[in-house]
């Protein structure tokens, strides 16, 4: 049942795209304003981008970890569902943030 894990990988990819959109706004504003607030937003975006990039690497490209996580004998279905749900919630959270920021 690695469909769940495939979905999680897609969510990770979409997260990366949305975060690039957020960083486009925040870093541009930081470069213009140099304010603490825009600096903080930019840093937040960079670290969340790093987290998702690393997760995508671990769960989609890492030669050892990636096959493990999709193997239901190693990571049973309830655990795969849990991983997917967490990523989907993160996707919604970032999406909402982008929606309010892209204004």
């Amino acid at each position: 049942m690695s469909v769940l894990i495939d979905l999680m990988r897609v969510a990770l990819g979409v997260n990366l795209v949305l975060l690039v959109g957020l960083l486009y706004v925040w870093v541009r504003n930081y470069l213009q304003f140099r304010s603490k607030h825009t600096f903080g937003l930019s840093l937040f975006g960079v670290f969340l981008l790093g987290e998702n990039a690393l997760a995508l690497y671990f769960f989609a490209f890492h030669p050892v970890l990636s096959p493990w996580v999709a193997d239901p004998t190693l990571v049973p279905r309830p655990a795969q569902i849990a991983m997917l749900v967490l990523r989907l919630l993160e996707l919604v959270a970032i999406g909402v943030l982008l929606w309010t920021t892209w204004d």
């Binding site: 706004v25 213009q32 304003f33 140099r34 607030h37 825009t38 309010t100 920021t101 892209w102 204004d103």
Partner: protein
């Protein structure tokens, strides 16, 4: 209110222009058309920013229809020191607002 102001003015795509709009209106209330001219922005862009700022209770309108002028809301005027520090950090100051419009036409 302070966090909301920071976010609306510096955390969003249109933030930089909204900061310029607020600074300009603080000096003298204007309508959307006059603002677009003063800041060298498209009328539709200005309209959108004005709606956002009114929505967030940063601005209020005086009069109605096409000629309605916009001015800082009582809530914002009460906390003008917060706005002042944002605009200062943002680099929008009194003298630059009207003279800098030529070089600052993006978005």
């Amino acid at each position: 209110m302070e966090a909301a102001l920071w976010y609306v003015l510096t955390g969003t795509r249109g933030g930089p222009n909204r900061a310029r709009i607020l600074q300009t209106l603080r000096r003298r209330p204007r309508n959307a058309n006059q603002l677009a001219e003063a800041l060298d922005l498209h009328y539709e862009t200005v309209r959108h920013h004005l709606d956002v700022l009114v929505d967030n209770d940063v601005l209020v309108t005086g009069g109605d229809g096409y000629g309605a002028v916009y001015l800082p809301s009582p809530r914002v005027r009460q906390q003008w020191d917060v706005v002042e520090s944002i605009l200062q950090e943002v680099g929008v100051d009194e003298d630059r607002v009207e003279t800098d419009t030529e070089s600052d036409t993006d978005s």
